[in-house]
């Protein structure tokens, strides 16, 4: 299930990060220390980390929208 969430998150990040999306996602996963069996809480921490990165790239307005979308993806997945 986590692979499906990962794919969905990368797909969601792609419009802002383009082809950098995969690298950016992997970097943030490593940054928050996501394990092999991540929980929903882990994914929420990941979404927060991605929000911070988006804020740096595009400002708080865009980052908040991305974060809301990420939460929808994460909460739609398994715990």
């Amino acid at each position: 299930m986590s692979a499906a969430i990962d794919t969905e998150i990368v797909r969601y990040m792609r419009p802002l990060f383009g082809e950098f999306a995969v690298t950016a996602f992997e970097q943030q996963k490593a940054h928050v220390g996501l394990g092999a069996q991540p929980t929903r809480g882990d994914y929420i921490r990941l979404a927060e980390a991605i929000r911070s990165m988006c804020a740096q790239v595009a400002g708080d307005g865009v980052a908040s929208k991305i974060y809301a979308g990420l939460l929808t993806i994460v909460q739609g997945g398994s715990s």
């Binding site: 419009p15 990060f17 383009g18 082809e19 595009a58 400002g59």
Partner: protein, 244 residues
Amino acid sequence: MNEALEVRPVATTRIRTWVRNLDEEMEGGIPHGSVVLVCGRPGALKSSLTYYIMYMQALQEERRSAYLTLEQSRASFVRHLAHLGLTPEASDEVAILDVASLRKTFGDAAPKGGANWLSAILEQAASYKQLLGCEILSIDSMSALYSLHDFHNPRRELFHFFEGLRSLGVTVFLISEMYDPTKEIFARYEVEDFLADGVIHLKVDRTGGQSNLYLGIVKMRETRHSRDYFPLIVDENGFEIVPH
């Protein structure tokens, strides 16, 4: 007259610059969908003027824009704008996208590897148009883009780049630095002004110990415009040209 041969003027949607007195000098503004070079020497307020146009478009006409900064960080640019009385954080209608920080984080290789940054920027611009619903896009600067891209045939590659920008269906501002104070070379490869639909030139006159700014519309397709250079005033009320 034969109806088939009758020429009907096509109404052109125009992007007002909101620079006081300037739009009157070019039939109300820049034709929407144009690719416009904003050129000048360092300190000529190219970035500030471009952002101002986008900011005023958001404020007055609710048009969304994306400003891609390739060299200066977003935080630094926002601080600079605040000095001019512009508050980017007050509105998300103009998204400042910090491609510079992506470069710092992920390196200068183009996103798909190699160094085809012209294609990479076109793809990103198309994405931003969709993601943000923007109608205006600016790229700051051409020099920064050129420093990333490996050119093999500049004339051909730039032709396709400009065509790609035009096909986005948004109004594009390309910020171009001029280096030689003795010549009017508007961009590095000297073809960009032919490929662009419009050229706005910001000139700094530093004679007599003073520094005065002038704005000239060198070129604007589909538009009757003045070719004079006008004094440019920047104050707390915004940008203004002084008509003759």
